[in-house]
C-alpha cells in the first residue's frame, strides 16, 4: 500500500524531516508510528498526503509514484486516503451531517447515496443523534468520531491518523481506537502516528519508531518503548 525507498526530506535550511527512510506497509496492515516530537512522524504523514513535495528517494502510495504525480491529480490521491487529525479539522460552519457529506460531495457522489451513506456511518460511530449539531456544540471525543466518520465514509483503501487521541481523554480514546480497528477489519490499511504509550502497548501491533528522521525500529507486535521491561529512567 505504501512503499518508502530511501526517502529523505530535508527542510530549509538543513532541518531533517526524514532521513533515508525505507519501509513497506502492506495492504490491510495496522501500523503505529511512534517517536518523540520532531522525529519525523508528521513529515511522513504529510509526504503520503503529498502536502509536502517529496524529497529524494521513491514514495509509492497505492501504486502511484508521488514524485511524478502531477499537481492536478493530488485531489484524486487524497480521496483514496482517509485522514484523522489531532485537531479534528472539521468545517466549523457545517453540521456533523454536512461535514461527513462534504467528503462525498467532493467525489461527486449522487445525492441519493449521500443521504443513505451519511446516517449509516454516523450510526456506526455512535453519533446518530447528533447529525444536526455544529462541531463546537459537541465534545472533543465526538468531534474526533465525526472526523473518523468523514475519513471512512468513502471506504478509502488507506486511513492516516495523526495523533488521533492526542486531544481527548483516555477513555474516549479507547473508543476511537476501537473504531479504527473496526475500520481496519474491513480491509483498510491504517497508519497511526501517536504518543499514546498505553494504547500502543495494549494493542501489540506493528510499530515503526522514528528518531530524528531515521527508522530505528520495526517490530511486528511491538510496544511503545524498545525495551518495555526496563524501568523508565527517572522523570
Amino acid at each position: 500500500m505504501i512503499v518508502f525507498e530511501n526517502v529523505t526530506k530535508i527542510y530549509d535550511p538543513d532541518v531533517v524531516g526524514l532521513q533515508d527512510f525505507t519501509c513497506h506497509i502492506g495492504k490491510g496492515e495496522f501500523v503505529f508510528l511512534v517517536g518523540a516530537s520532531g522525529s519525523g512522524k508528521s513529515t511522513l504523514i504529510k509526504l503520503v498526503l503529498k502536502e509536502l513535495e517529496p524529497g529524494e528517494g521513491r514514495l509509492l502510495v497505492a501504486g502511484r509514484n508521488l514524485g511524478t504525480l502531477p499537481r492536478r491529480k493530488v485531489p484524486l490521491l487524497r480521496r483514496n486516503i482517509g485522514c484523522v487529525f489531532q485537531d479534528f479539522k472539521l468545517l466549523p460552519n457545517k453540521t456533523v451531517y454536512e461535514n461527513v457529506a462534504y467528503a462525498l460531495e467532493v467525489v461527486g457522489e449522487p445525492r441519493r447515496s449521500i443521504r443513505r451513506k451519511v446516517p449509516e456511518i454516523l450510526n456506526l460511530v455512535g453519533l446518530g443523534d447528533k447529525t444536526n449539531s455544529l462541531p463546537h456544540e459537541i465534545s472533543g471525543g465526538e468531534q474526533q468520531r465525526v472526523s473518523v466518520a468523514r475519513a471512512f465514509v468513502n471506504h478509502p483503501p488507506l486511513l492516516l491518523a495523526d495523533e488521533p487521541t492526542g486531544n481527548i481523554d483516555p477513555e474516549t480514546a479507547v473508543g476511537i481506537m476501537q473504531l479504527l480497528v473496526r475500520i481496519n477489519r474491513t480491509g483498510t490499511t491504517v497508519l497511526i502516528a501517536t504518543h499514546d504509550r498505553e494504547m500502543v502497548n495494549r494493542m501489540r501491533r506493528r510499530v515503526l519508531q522514528l528518531d530524528t528522521g531515521r527508522l530505528v525500529r520495526d517490530e511486528r507486535r511491538g510496544s511503545y518503548d524498545q525495551f518495555p521491561d526496563e524501568p523508565e529512567e527517572g522523570i
Binding site: R79, I81, C83, N93, V106
Partner: protein, 303 residues
C-alpha cells in the same frame, strides 16, 4: 458541475459571514456609485458639448437689393463647401418676427419700414472650422457690411471656443477620475474579499485535505463574490439613477431649465449603447466580485 450544491454553499456562507458580506456589499456599493456618477456626469457633458457644437452658426447678413439669382448662386456655393453642414435663409419678415418675439409688439408697430436685413444661418460641421468658413464670406458681394467694418458676418467665436475648451478639459478630467476610481474600487473590493477569505483559510485547507479539487473549492467563492458584487452594484446603480432623476426633475422645474440635463437610462434602450446604468454596473460589480474571489483564493490553492 454541481450548480445547486455550489449555490447553496455560497448562499449559506454569505448568510453565516453576514458582517463580512455587508462590508463587501457596502464597498461595492460606494465604488459603483462613484463610477456611476462619473458615467452620468460624463455623458451629460458630452451631450452639452454636442449641442453647443451644433449651435455654432455663422450669421451672414445680406444686402436688401440682392437678386434671387445672386442668392441662388451664393447658396449653391456655400453648400458645396465640405465644412458646411446646413444653410438656412432668414427673410426680412422672419427676422422681424423674431425681433418682435424678443422685444414686443410696441416697438415693431411703430416702425415705418422693416429695417432688418435678410440673412443666412450657416451651420458648420466642426466648431473648429468656424473661422475658416466665416473668412470666406467677408468679401462676398451680397454681404452687407457697415462701411469700414466686417460686421455683415457674425459668429460667437470666442465664447463658444472657450466653453468647448472647458468642457473638453472637464471631460479629460472625468476620464482621469474614472480610471482612478476604478483602480480604487478594484483595490477596495479585492481587499475586502481577501479579508473574508483569510478568515476562512482553515476551511480551504480542510477542503483540500478531504480531496476537493481546486475548482470544487473555488466555485462557491466565485458565486459568493459575484452575488456580493451584484447586490452592491445594483444598489449603486439605483441610487445614482435616483439622484440623476431627482436632479433632472428639480432643474426642469427651476430657472435653470435651459441646462437640459440628460437622464441616463436605467435600462438598455434598444440602441445598443449605452447599455444602461443598471446592466453595466451590475455586470461590472458581479465580475469584480467573482474575479476578486479568484485572485484572493489563489494563494491558498497552491500545490
Amino acid at each position: 458541475m454541481r450548480l445547486g450544491f455550489f449555490l447553496a454553499e455560497a448562499l449559506g456562507s454569505l448568510r453565516r459571514n453576514w458582517v463580512m458580506t455587508m462590508a463587501a456589499v457596502i464597498t461595492v456599493f460606494i465604488s459603483t456609485a462613484i463610477l456611476g456618477l462619473v458615467l452620468v456626469t460624463d455623458s451629460n457633458l458630452e451631450q452639452g458639448a454636442t449641442s453647443l457644437k451644433n449651435r455654432v452658426m455663422i450669421e451672414v447678413f445680406i444686402k436688401d437689393e440682392t437678386t434671387p439669382q445672386q442668392q441662388e448662386a451664393f447658396e449653391s456655393k456655400v453648400m458645396a463647401m465640405p465644412e458646411v453642414k446646413e444653410i438656412r435663409f432668414v427673410s426680412k419678415e422672419e427676422a422681424l418676427d423674431r425681433f418682435r418675439e424678443s422685444f414686443g409688439e410696441r416697438i415693431t408697430a411703430s416702425l415705418p419700414i422693416n429695417p432688418l436685413p435678410a440673412s443666412y444661418e450657416v451651420y458648420v460641421k466642426d466648431a473648429d472650422q468656424v473661422d475658416i468658413v466665416a473668412a470666406r464670406f467677408y468679401d462676398e458681394p451680397i454681404v452687407s457690411h457697415t462701411p469700414g467694418t466686417k460686421d455683415g458676418v457674425q459668429y460667437a467665436a470666442q465664447t463658444v471656443r472657450r466653453m468647448l475648451g472647458t468642457i473638453d478639459l472637464i471631460e479629460k478630467g472625468m476620464w482621469g477620475a474614472t480610471v482612478l476610481f476604478s483602480a480604487a474600487a478594484i483595490l477596495l473590493i479585492s481587499t475586502t474579499v481577501r479579508l473574508s477569505i483569510f478568515a476562512r483559510r482553515r476551511e480551504v485547507e480542510i477542503m483540500r485535505l478531504v480531496g476537493a479539487t481546486n475548482w470544487f473549492i473555488r466555485w462557491p467563492f466565485v458565486f459568493e463574490g459575484f452575488i456580493t458584487g451584484l447586490i452592491g452594484a445594483v444598489m449603486g446603480a439605483l441610487s445614482v439613477y435616483a439622484a440623476n432623476w431627482a436632479l433632472v426633475n428639480w432643474l426642469e422645474s427651476s430657472a435653470l431649465d435651459y441646462l437640459s440635463l440628460y437622464k441616463y437610462p436605467l435600462w438598455w434602450e434598444g440602441s445598443g449603447w449605452p447599455l444602461g446604468l443598471l446592466p453595466s454596473l451590475a455586470l461590472l460589480g458581479g465580475a469584480l466580485g467573482a474575479v476578486g474571489s479568484l485572485v484572493a483564493l489563489r494563494r491558498y490553492l497552491r500545490t
